[in-house]
C-alpha cells in the first residue's frame, strides 16, 4: 500500500492496459471513495419508491449511508444517515414512511428535509445550541436531480449537470420508460442483494463483455440445451431456458452486436436478444396484447419506433447497470477494495398486461437471482479475478481487445471495433482517471 500522486495514477492507466493495483490496493479504493464516488452522479433510487410526502428509503452513496426522502413540499432530499450529535444512524429501515427521524441515542429529532427540529434537554449542550440549530441538521447531499423518475445525487457541490453527465446514455432510460403504455415505470417485485469478494469495477466491466458468456456460462448453456425446447403454449420454464441458451449464441453473433460508450465512462450493449416472448415477438399473445395497448396510447408509428430499440445492459458509471428492455436495474455498492454488494430491482411498466410483469419477475430470477444458474458463475469468476490480481508477479491487466479499431459514432458516442471489444472498460478507466486526477 502506498500514497498515490496524480502522476502515479496516470502511469497506471494506459490506453490498452491498467495496473492491477486499481483492483486490489486498499489505498486506491480509499481515493476512489473520495474522488470518484464522492464526485460523480450516483443513482440512489426511483421516484416510485417514495411517492408521498414522508416516504423514505435508505441506501448508500459509495460507502456512506444515506436517507432519500420525499419532503413535505414534495421535493426529494438526500441526507447522510448520521446524527449531528454523536454519529448514530437515525434510520435503519430499507423503506418506510415517517414524520421525523429520531436518533436512538439521545433523541435528537430531524424533519424529513434533515433540519433539526428538537433537541431534548437542549440547555445542557450550552447556551448557543438553539442558535446553532440551523447548522446541526443532517448533512444534506448537495445535489439531487431526477431523470424520468430515476433519482440521482452527487456528494460534490460542483460538477457537471446531470444532463451533461448522462449525455447520450439518457436514451437508455428513455428506452425503459417509453415502453410503458402509461408513460411511467415503478419499482416492484423485491430486491435481490448479491455479494461477492471482488472489486466493484468487475461487475460493470462484465455487463458489457460479449465474449464471456460462452466461457463463464458454458455449464448453464449446456444444461438449458439439454432441456425440452420452449413450446406453445408457453411454459413457466421457457423464459429461463431461452435466456440461458441465448448466452451460448455463436461467436459471430457476439462479434456483430453493438457496443457503445459515451463520456464519463457510460456505455451500452445493443442489437442484442431476439427472445420472442420478452422482446418483440409478434407471435406471442402476451407481447401482442402489450403492443396493442402501447399503440393505443402512443400511436402505431411511435410504438414501432419505441419497440425497435434493442438494448441489453446500459452502464451509468460508476454505480449503476440497467436493462431498459427487460426492466431490471442494479445499483453497485462498493464496501471494500475486495467486497461489493449489488442491489437489483425489477420494474413494472404501467399500463402493460399483468402477465408481462410476471414475465419480468421470472426473467429477474434467471438473470439476477442470488441462486441463479447464470449469476453464480459470474460471481465465481469475479472472485477468481480478484484472487489472481493479488499476485505480485504481473503488474498489468490487458484490455486490448478491439483497441485501435474503435470508431466515433454520431458525435458523442464511440462504437467498439466489434461486439466483443473491450472499449467499454477502456472508456471506464479513461473516466476513472479524469475523476481521480481532477483538482
Amino acid at each position: 500500500m502506498g500514497m498515490f500522486g496524480r502522476e502515479q495514477l496516470a502511469m497506471m492507466v494506459r490506453p490498452d492496459r491498467v495496473h492491477r493495483a486499481l483492483y486490489s490496493d486498499p489505498a486506491i479504493f480509499e481515493l476512489e471513495m473520495q474522488r470518484l464516488f464522492g464526485r460523480a452522479w450516483l443513482v440512489v433510487g426511483h421516484e416510485s419508491q417514495i411517492p408521498a410526502a414522508g416516504d423514505f428509503l435508505t441506501t448508500r452513496m459509495g460507502r456512506d449511508p444515506v436517507i432519500v426522502t420525499r419532503h413535505a413540499d414534495g421535493t426529494v432530499k438526500v441526507m447522510i444517515n448520521r446524527c449531528s450529535h454523536r454519529g448514530s444512524t437515525v434510520c435503519e429501515d430499507a423503506r418506510g414512511h415517517c414524520a421525523e427521524f429520531v436518533c436512538p441515542y439521545h433523541g435528537w429529532t430531524y424533519r424529513t428535509d434533515g433540519s433539526l427540529r428538537f433537541v431534548p434537554l437542549a440547555h445542557g449542550y450550552g447556551r448557543d445550541v438553539e442558535r446553532k440549530k440551523s447548522e446541526l441538521g443532517l448533512v444534506n447531499v448537495p445535489r439531487v436531480e431526477s431523470y424520468r423518475g430515476f433519482l440521482f445525487a452527487s456528494l460534490a457541490a460542483d460538477g457537471p449537470t446531470l444532463s451533461d453527465f448522462l449525455g447520450p446514455l439518457s436514451s437508455s432510460f428513455d428506452d425503459m420508460v417509453d415502453r410503458a403504455p402509461d408513460g411511467e415505470v415503478e419499482v416492484a417485485g423485491g430486491v435481490f442483494k448479491h455479494a461477492y469478494h471482488g472489486n466493484w469495477k468487475l461487475v460493470l466491466e462484465n455487463h458489457l463483455d460479449g465474449l464471456h458468456p460462452n466461457y463463464v456460462h458454458a455449464s448453464s448453456v449446456q444444461a438449458a440445451r439439454d432441456a425440452p425446447d420452449p413450446a406453445q403454449p408457453e411454459r413457466y420454464a421457457d423464459i429461463a431456458i431461452r435466456q440461458m441458451r441465448q448466452n451460448g449464441a455463436p461467436e459471430a453473433i457476439w462479434e456483430s452486436i453493438g457496443i457503445w460508450t459515451t463520456d464519463f465512462g457510460h456505455g451500452y450493449m445493443a442489437d442484442y436478444h431476439s427472445d420472442s416472448r420478452l422482446v418483440v415477438g409478434m407471435d406471442n399473445p402476451v407481447f401482442a396484447g402489450y403492443r396493442e395497448r402501447l399503440e393505443h396510447k402512443i400511436g402505431k408509428e411511435r410504438a414501432a419506433k419505441v419497440l425497435s430499440v434493442t438494448r441489453w445492459n446500459s452502464i451509468v458509471y460508476p454505480n449503476c447497470s440497467f436493462m431498459g428492455q427487460f426492466r431490471q436495474l442494479r445499483i453497485v455498492h462498493p464496501l471494500a477494495v475486495d467486497r461489493t454488494i449489488v442491489y437489483t430491482y425489477s420494474f413494472r411498466l404501467k399500463g402493460a398486461p399483468e402477465q408481462m410483469y410476471r414475465d419480468t419477475i421470472a426473467f429477474a430470477n434467471v438473470v439476477n437471482g442470488t441462486a441463479s444458474w447464470v449469476l453464480t458463475d459470474d460471481l465465481e469468476v469475479y472472485e477468481r479475478v480478484q484472487k489472481g490480481l493479488t499476485a505480485q508477479a504481473g503488474d498489468w491487466v490487458y484490455l486490448a481487445r478491439g483497441y485501435g479499431g474503435d470508431a466515433d459514432d454520431a458525435g458523442r458516442t464511440r462504437r467498439g471495433a466489434t461486439g466483443t471489444s473491450e472499449l467499454p472498460i477502456r472508456s471506464q478507466f479513461a473516466a476513472w482517471l479524469r475523476y481521480m486526477t481532477a483538482e
Binding site: A188, H194, Y196, S220, Q222, R235, A371, L379
Partner: protein
C-alpha cells in the same frame, strides 16, 4: 391417505413416514446424489425459496429459487458440466432437519413443517443457513413423493453471496 385418520390428526406411522422422506432427501443432497434426490419429486413439483418474508406468491415477487421440475433438472445437470465454475468443486453441505410435524392434510396430500439448519462449505468458506420448511407430500404408486417444497430462509432478504447448492 390411509395413514391419516379421519379426524385429520396424523398417526405416528404417518409422521414417521414423512420424517423418513425428509431425512432421506437431506441425506441425498449431502451425498450429492442429485438424480436420486430429483426422483423424490413429482412431475408437477415446485421448489420454492422465497425472497421476502411472508411472500404470498412466486409470480409477483422474485424468488431466490422458484423452479418447476424442468428447471430443477437443469440445476442437477449443471453440476455435471466440466466448466460449472461455481459448482466445481460442489459445495459440501450438512442438512440438519428437525422439528418435523404434520401440519395438515387435504386428503390426498400431507403438509409437513420442519426446520432446517444447513452448513455449507466450499473453498475455505463456511456458511450457516437456517430456514423453516414446508413440504407437501403426495402418495403415488412409487411411494410418498414431494409435490411442493417451500424453504423460508431466516436471511432471505439479506445481502447474500452466490448460492450454488440446494436447500
Amino acid at each position: 391417505m390411509g395413514a391419516i385418520e379421519s379426524t385429520g390428526v396424523a398417526s405416528d406411522a404417518a409422521l414417521r413416514e414423512a420424517e423418513q422422506l425428509l431425512f432421506r432427501e437431506a441425506w441425498l443432497l449431502d451425498q450429492h446424489r442429485l438424480d436420486e434426490w430429483l426422483d423424490l419429486f413429482t412431475e408437477d413439483a415446485t421448489y420454492w425459496v422465497p425472497l421476502e418474508r411472508g411472500q404470498l406468491d412466486p409470480w409477483n415477487t422474485s424468488s431466490i429459487i422458484f423452479d418447476d421440475r424442468t428447471l430443477l433438472q437443469i440445476r442437477v445437470r449443471q453440476y455435471t458440466h466440466p466448466r460449472a465454475h461455481a459448482r466445481l468443486p460442489a459445495a459440501r453441505t450438512c442438512h440438519q432437519v428437525g422439528n418435523v410435524m404434520i401440519l395438515g392434510s387435504d386428503g390426498s396430500e400431507l403438509r409437513v413443517g420442519s426446520s432446517l439448519v444447513l452448513v455449507e462449505y466450499r473453498k475455505e468458506r463456511q456458511r450457516v443457513f437456517g430456514a423453516s420448511v414446508e413440504h407437501r407430500l403426495r402418495r403415488t404408486p412409487a411411494g410418498l413423493r414431494v409435490a411442493a417444497k417451500r424453504v423460508d430462509l431466516v436471511n432471505s432478504e439479506a445481502e447474500l453471496d452466490g448460492i450454488a447448492f440446494l436447500f
